[in-house]
Chain length 240, copies 2
């Protein structure tokens, strides 16, 4: 299997995404939230670009059916129901609900994968690395699109890309990795026992630690969840 990895949606190369399955990662914390919400029974997650669009969509779908979630600079958006911590997305809160989610980088990465002509878009995280790998194991070519932080290379997402590649290897898939794919797998192999030793060098992780978030260990728990969300043609993310 050919695997091409991109550190941000901004430097994605379309010919390496077109007609492939693309796995989008924003491990801290948009895709960790999506995987958790759908695992806990949310009906669907609708990613939108900005706050205004989220409020409008919430109104249209009926405020009682919808939870508005997301962040700006890692913080809760005024008027929203949920922030960007997966621990908030409990079954009690999200079961049967539609989540309208807006995040700085994750949403843009998902949409960029779509406009690049990906055949199928899956939502990946450390939490569901094995499940995602299992879903794509028979493909000839895939792309992994990291969201990055502020359009930049971010170690958290690269480490998560490594975890998915490692699970593919574990499944016996013969891998042909691009340069960043090898880099991601190498980092993962060196740091998988203690991801936090790597994450101390990740600017985005350090910022979340400073802000006092207690969900970072959760986000880096590998293979805790089995759900594989996909971004459907109609613009909603669902577990299939």
């Amino acid at each position: 299997m050919r695997v091409d990895v991109f550190s941000t949606h901004a430097n994605l190369v379309e010919r390496c995404v077109r007609d492939r399955t693309a796995i989008v990662i924003d491990v801290l914390r948009a895709t960790s939230c999506m995987v958790t919400a759908l695992s806990n029974g949310a009906r669907e997650v609708i990613p939108v670009e900005d706050v205004e669009e989220a409020l409008k969509m919430g109104g249209r779908l009926g405020r009682e059916n919808v939870l508005l979630g997301g962040e700006r600079n890692a913080l809760l958006i005024p008027g929203f129901d949920l922030g960007n911590s997966p621990l908030e997305y409990s079954g009690e809160k999200v079961r049967g609900k539609v989540i309208v989610a807006t995040t700085t980088n994750g949403t843009r990465a998902i949409r960029r994968a779509r406009t690049s002509g990906a055949r199928r878009i899956l939502v990946g995280a450390y939490l569901n690395a094995r499940a995602v790998a299992d879903r794509v194991r028979d493909e000839d070519e895939i792309a992994i699109v990291c969201s990055g932080t502020a359009e930049r290379f971010s170690l958290d997402d690269v480490m998560a890309a490594g975890s998915i590649i490692a699970e593919l290897r574990e499944l016996g898939v013969k891998l042909e990795l691009d340069d960043l794919g090898y880099n991601a797998l190498f980092l993962y192999d060196q740091y998988k026992r203690h991801p936090e030793d790597l994450l101390l060098h990740c600017g985005h992780y350090r910022r979340l630690v400073e802000l006092g978030f207690d969900d970072l260990t959760y986000c880096f728990t590998q293979n805790k969840l089995d759900v594989v969300p996909s971004y459907d043609e109609d613009g909603a993310i669902r577990a299939h």
Copy 2:
């Protein structure tokens, strides 16, 4: 010292380059050629974007004073004097000459650093890692701009960025690295004894091996040369 590293000129963030010294790297092989040529007595290197511009510039400067050098897809350009192998840039050939050089990625990275408002642009390679580090050791903030391959993350350049960061550390500089800076230093530390073990995972390196080039070990010889070329205001690269 704050160090920000970019994997290609395409995903460079201007605010991390503006008013700083930027070190541009295209280790396989444009910047290795430039460092070698100037170390061997070439008067200056003028990087240009395309073949037509190179031929025009050669005519203007007087064909007897000029050597045209560069590559397209790693191969010699018809009508040019020199390819993109540093081993061709011997003292016998280049002493006293002006080299007009056009390469796929290196030239673009240098110009992008200029248009981003870098205060000073230095040319870095594995060959002159220590000399470059020594030149910037007193700065508060620098940027390292890798050229990458076909606008993509390339392990050869990231490894060379790591070598310069390691030399800064060796000089006792207190470092504050961005995510890719840490990644580069980590790769360097793991692979410095046998860079080729890493480079086997680098698509660009493998292509040059397939093409039969015998200069790759040379390009990954650390601290062989002391010259620190800089890209001057008038568009020429000179050793100062």
